[in-house]
């Protein structure tokens, strides 16, 4: 068959879709792209595999990787990466701010200037006055390296990143319940679940490819029950058998009431929780099952109805479906994590699984979803936060520090034993002039921080030195930069991404970076040496060198992925850790004998929660607690923020794609029909939103998506920084801010 170039492209497009459903297309098999290079999508934490098509040395096509978990599927964002790579806003030269304007300079000048600033602050104010603020979008190697440079090289534990804003509560939940971070299940569980409990996640818009998998599961077996607990009637609720809207901030009461019903109706699995679970009070005292049952009497469905607005009968139905299903999987995301008690909410979801034994079996698992492509692999696992060392080690534990000192070739007891500042505390310290030099990589806090006006003032201080490694000139944070270093972007360099299901996959280098852009690993090594960091600490010639060290650092821990050699990652479309040896296939289910290499084959028990001293997980007695800022007479409604399907985070990427920008060109406020009617608001009217932190005018979208009393605004738009209105109160355990709830009043502008 003879095809024109155009026909060929159409055939390739059809072929990619057909491959995704497992149907071959013979006439498109003769793929004539110069080269296809394997990678991972740059957007959400789903971690879809992509193939980048290269023609004459340029990226021109994107298709889904049929061998990765996404089986060739991509959402529109992932498929439209090409215009972002070649956006006119790309930073292609180093720059220093001179006379108020960012001015092109040489690499030497920019790096020396930055190093001198850091050295001067270190000399005058000590390591507590410098900081690194990174990203769940940086490569694993980049975050590991930056964290090592600051913690081991500069002795500053002020190492933070935007994952603190999106998944720190999930970390806190896993660690307090199971002793170790990261989910024990995988995406495969979706295909085997008979009940899928989605709470605080708009999966259809934020993780569309996983939503596809959920929808496919539902269509394959109509008996599969899907429960969506969300104050908004999102697209996700379209496939739900039961959508449960509730008063924002009352999720703890709902989850405790479900536990009450499960026990009251004897739907619990006492054989499981009798053997594998400890019951603990909020102040960490071990109690018996009876004490826990008694604690739950404050959360009968009838009592919970008064708190949550959810009918008692609905709570009973949810709990019954959850417990009676052969295999139940829970999925959650920012609606649970971005809360003043996000860790507790995470604990209470796990409680339901531990009570019913829906854990460690195909289709039965709690599973937190992640917002960024490498928050898990890059930041959580490498220890890129202020209290962590690599692979789950803690700064505050002497034995952990000593182990890392040995691995890094440092003298014993030379690491700084004091944890650094968490994100909100860090920006507060910048505002107070206590932190004076900050290196940022691949993140845009001037838009993404809560209560952002306060923190923008901090970044604007004359005595704050800010060096950004940033790809896009229109990022809001660029306004505050003293130095900008241009990085190679996405597939312009190679490195590893680790997604929500513990899958590490290689983003291979497909094209050369533009202009003077350099790989961030090289920038960091160069800068470290100029800051007088011991060259022995940064002996790397490539990202692969960093990866190989990181493999060794993971080896003595339960994260162990020593078996993931670069060569294996080049061939495979991702491997899930633990993966201790080069012949190990990776791990779908953790904590189970025969499934998890960390559980000895001859272990006497089937389940072994090895993160806990006695191998038992914890059911926590977490009481109901509302939001930090509840509605009141002055601010009678609730403002929540989030994403829309065609944009991502601060929009520095998706706003560069005309198709995506047109789809959602401007910010808006979603208002319930009843509230709109009461205030005389029509679709398109300009509404003034006022919180205790500021006011903003936005056009109204009137619908029944939000519950009455709730308004929603997407946070992607730089010209409407909704984070000027949000609250920076944070969870005392995870230090994650409560983006999802603050009090607001609305009126026609």
């Amino acid at each position: 068959m003879k095809l024109s170039r155009r026909d060929f492209l159409k055939a390739t497009a059809a072929s990619s879709a057909l491959m995704a459903v497992g149907s071959p297309m013979a006439f498109a098999a003769d793929d004539k792209a110069d080269k296809w290079v394997k990678g991972v999508c740059r957007f959400c934490g789903t971690g879809c595999g992509v193939m980048v098509g290269i023609h004459n040395g340029r990226a021109v096509q994107i298709k889904g990787d049929p061998n990765n978990h996404n089986a060739g599927f991509l959402c529109l964002k992932g498929a439209l990466m090409v215009p972002i790579i070649y956006a006119k806003e790309r930073v292609t030269d180093p720059m220093i701010r001179k006379n108020g304007k960012l001015t092109k300079v040489s690499w030497d000048e920019a790096l020396n200037y930055t190093a001198d600033k850091f050295k001067s602050v270190l000399k005058a104010d000590g390591p507590g006055a410098v900081a690194y603020y990174g990203s769940g979008q940086a490569l694993t190697e980049e975050t590991y390296l930056a964290s090592k440079i600051f913690k081991a090289g500069l002795k500053s534990n002020n190492v933070e990143g935007n994952p603190r804003l999106c998944m720190a509560s999930a970390v806190g939940g896993y660690v307090t319940t199971y002793g170790k971070d990261e989910p024990m299940g995988s995406y495969d569980d979706i295909d085997a679940a008979s009940c899928i409990f989605i709470i605080g996640s708009n999966t259809s818009e934020c993780h569309p490819i996983l939503f596809k998998r959920i929808a496919k599961r539902k269509q394959a077996d109509p008996n599969v029950k899907i429960i969506v607990v969300d104050p908004r009637r999102t697209n996700t609720a379209r496939i739900a058998d039961l959508h449960v809207p509730f008063k924002p901030g009352t999720d703890l009461a709902i989850l405790n009431a479900m536990a009450y019903h499960i026990i009251d109706e004897e739907l619990d699995n006492s054989r499981f929780h009798g053997k594998y679970v400890n019951f603990m009070t909020n102040d960490k005292k071990k109690v018996d099952f009876e004490a826990y049952r008694k604690f739950l009497e404050d959360y009968t469905p009838e009592k919970a109805e008064k708190i949550t607005g959810v009918k008692a009968a609905t709570i009973r139905t949810m709990a019954t479906w959850f417990a009676e299903s052969p295999a139940t999987m829970s999925l959650w995301c920012m609606g649970i994590n971005q809360r003043i008690r996000g860790v507790w909410a995470n604990n209470l979801i796990s409680n339901l699984h531990l009570l019913t034994g829906h854990i460690g079996k195909p289709g039965a698992t709690p599973f937190s979803l992640t917002g960024q492509p490498n928050a898990c692999g890059g930041v959580r696992d490498t220890g890129g936060l202020s209290h962590l060392l690599p692979a789950g080690r803690l700064i505050k534990k002497k034995e952990n520090r000593n182990e890392m000192e040995k691995l890094w070739g440092l003298p014993q007891d030379s690491l700084n034993p004091k944890p650094g500042l968490h994100t909100v505390a860090l920006y507060n310290a910048i505002g107070e002039g206590k932190v004076k030099a900050v290196l940022m990589l691949c993140t845009n806090p001037a838009q993404s921080l809560p209560n952002v006006n306060k923190h923008r003032k901090a970044l604007a201080r004359e005595d704050t030195f800010l060096c950004l490694i940033e790809a896009f000139a229109d990022a809001e944070t660029m306004k505050f930069a003293d130095v900008v270093l241009p990085p190679a972007f996405w597939c312009e360099r190679e490195g590893v991404y680790g997604c929500s299901e513990r899958r590490y996959a290689l983003v291979d280098k497909a094209i050369e970076p533009p202009g003077q852009c350099r790989e961030s690993v090289h920038i960091l090594v160069d800068l470290a040496k100029r800051m007088d960091v011991d060259p022995k600490l940064v002996p790397y010639k490539s990202a692969e060198d960093v990866w190989n060290e990181w493999r060794k650092v993971s080896r003595p821990t339960p994260y162990n992925f020593y078996g993931m050699t670069r060569d294996r990652l080049r061939k495979a479309s991702g491997i899930r850790w633990p993966c201790p040896t080069e012949d190990h296939p990776g791990t779908k289910i953790r904590y189970v004998r025969g499934k998890d290499p960390n559980v000895p084959a001859d272990h006497p028990n089937k389940y072994f929660f090895y993160g806990k001293p006695d191998g038992k997980a914890v059911v926590w007695m977490r009481p109901y607690k509302g939001a930090a800022e509840e509605p009141d007479a002055a601010y009678p409604m609730v403002l929540t923020t989030g994403r829309v399907i065609d944009h991502w985070h601060t929009g520095t990427m998706t706003m560069k794609v005309p198709e995506l920008k047109k789809s959602f060109p401007a910010a808006y406020v979603e208002v319930n029909t009843r509230d709109a009617k009461a205030k005389g608001i029509n679709n398109g009217d300009i509404i003034k939103l006022t919180t205790r932190r500021g006011a903003m005018d936005l056009p109204a979208r009137v619908s029944d998506v939000c519950l009455p009393g709730l308004v929603f605004v997407p946070f992607h738009y730089a010209d409407k920084l909704i984070n000027k209105l949000t609250l920076d109160a944070f969870d005392p355990g995870s230090k994650q801010p409560e983006y999802k709830i603050c009090a607001v009043k609305i009126e026609k502008a």
């Binding site: 492209l9 059809a14 879709a17 057909l18 459903v21 340029r58 096509q61 889904g64 006119k88 292609t92």
Partner: protein, 87 residues
């Protein structure tokens, strides 16, 4: 002109009707129904209109969602792109 491979996920009962409606759209070519729930579609439109065309499919009753498996804008690379590449 941009070309996109799309997988249109529908309710089973609506599959045939959805395919028929897409067949009537000028910029769309269908490549059959699969697994009782998917229509494979290739969209062909100027890049700045692609999303609008895809939205027409989203608006068809019975469509759950649309997955994009492939997009090429190969012949829309322009001079500004050249400048970026050169730096």
């Amino acid at each position: 002109m941009a070309i996109a491979g799309l997988l249109v996920h529908t309710l089973k009962v609506d599959l045939a009707r959805v395919e028929g409606e897409i067949q009537n759209m000028a910029e769309m070519t269908t490549y059959g129904c699969h697994q009782d729930q998917y229509v494979v579609v290739v969209a062909e439109a100027p890049a700045n209109r692609l999303e609008a065309e895809v939205k027409k499919i989203k608006a068809v009753d019975g469509v759950l969602t649309i997955y994009t498996t492939y997009v090429t804008v190969e012949d829309e690379m322009d001079e500004s792109t050249e400048q970026i590449i050169r730096g």
